[in-house]
Symmetry: C2
Amino acid sequence: MSEIESFFKSAFSVDNVIFGFDGSELKVLLIQRGAAPFKGKWALPGDLVYPNENLDTAAERVLEQLTGLRGVYLEQVKAFGAVNRHPLGRVITIAYYSLIKISDFNVTPASFAQSARWHAVSEVEELAFDHNEILNTCLKRLKHKVRTEPVGFELLPPKFTLTELQQLYDAILNLPKKLDKRNFRKKILSMNLLVELPELQEGVAHRPAKLYQFDGEKYEQFVSEGFSFDI
Amino acid sequence: MSEIESFFKSAFSVDNVIFGFDGSELKVLLIQRGAAPFKGKWALPGDLVYPNENLDTAAERVLEQLTGLRGVYLEQVKAFGAVNRHPLGRVITIAYYSLIKISDFNVTPASFAQSARWHAVSEVEELAFDHNEILNTCLKRLKHKVRTEPVGFELLPPKFTLTELQQLYDAILNLPKKLDKRNFRKKILSMNLLVELPELQEGVAHRPAKLYQFDGEKYEQFVSEGFSFDI
DNA sequence: GGACTTATTGTTAAATGAACACCAATTTAT
DNA sequence: ATAAATTGGTGTTCATTTAACAATAAGTCC
């Protein structure tokens, strides 16, 4: 094989860290590999990038094939390209993470018969390939992102309570001490990005909380006026 | 060509945004392309990744071949993989940026006969490929990085004055108003990361300033104790 | 010695962040 | 219907950080 040919003896893939939130824990959607290599191991959903497909498109496709969802939050994080990261050849992978509303994920659609399951991020064990490293990198990125841009709402239902929002932040940031309830509420409400709905939480065995909605348009407007989100 | 084969009809490259600082402006090292495509256009230095070469190694190699430098600051930023970003085929590129001391760059070493030149980042015109986009992304990353980690020192000589340090920050951040001199000094000195040397600036036609050195070991220690750099 | 240039230093007011505890509203059990 | 249990909601104070701001000091050059 000539040197020039060997340059093309390689492929690239995307891997997608799909995050979800179940009300108390941050979760990641993993699939169990049905074939070698790493048969039986849990892994990040991913696929080779089609020859005439953009990277972002490939990541969206992986997400849609697994969850049926389109148009959700998706961000590229980094390329992973260690020479021996894939036992069958030279494959570099571009890592993405996406944020979905866990309730939107309804069992596995047809195209992916493989078993897919939510795992608590804190309890993920040894994954296939270098997927632990990818997961950690994406988690780190998410921790940062969620403090500087209002992406956390992507993980919550459209209507949520302030306690749910705070639990989300506590779950993602996983700080030694939980956020202070009063300070958190003060801060988030002072941004004027939440709309208080004329509805209350239902079906709880205690005082029901007010429901809020995130106002994305207001956020865009504020940003254009120099505002920057910060928690 | 079978579908499987076509997956391998692709290549990956690295492109390196090499930043330097000349005392007043942030610069980027560009090369002028000697061959098609984009012959004659300025471009980021880059190369295909060798089949058994790690991505970081390839970026280091590109840097060394151009500048003769090793062991300098280098960070991967992102993959760029739009289908038609390269006119001759499917090539995704992994973008890196590096920070070098501009005085260490001594004309072009033999292996790269191509013309390489420092350009003020603010005056860069239309580059080859999607290199303007890559440059902008890396610049944005650098702006953030320089405020949260002490990487700015990589662009300065080992001994520097506080004014030089501030000019570096002003040049990189390019804020509507320059940083306040007194506040900047207070902040940077309060971190206890700079060692005041028993030497003064020389060769200037005015009161010479004290020289300082960055103490990287102290920084590592402080970080392990929970410190985080912030300007 | 005088003119010139840049270096060095501190205070105050405003905004932000951190710490902290009690009453309110609802459901469930008796 | 009352009490117990559970979570929701709310303000103040103190400490810290940030922002704004100007006069004197130490050199060089003529």
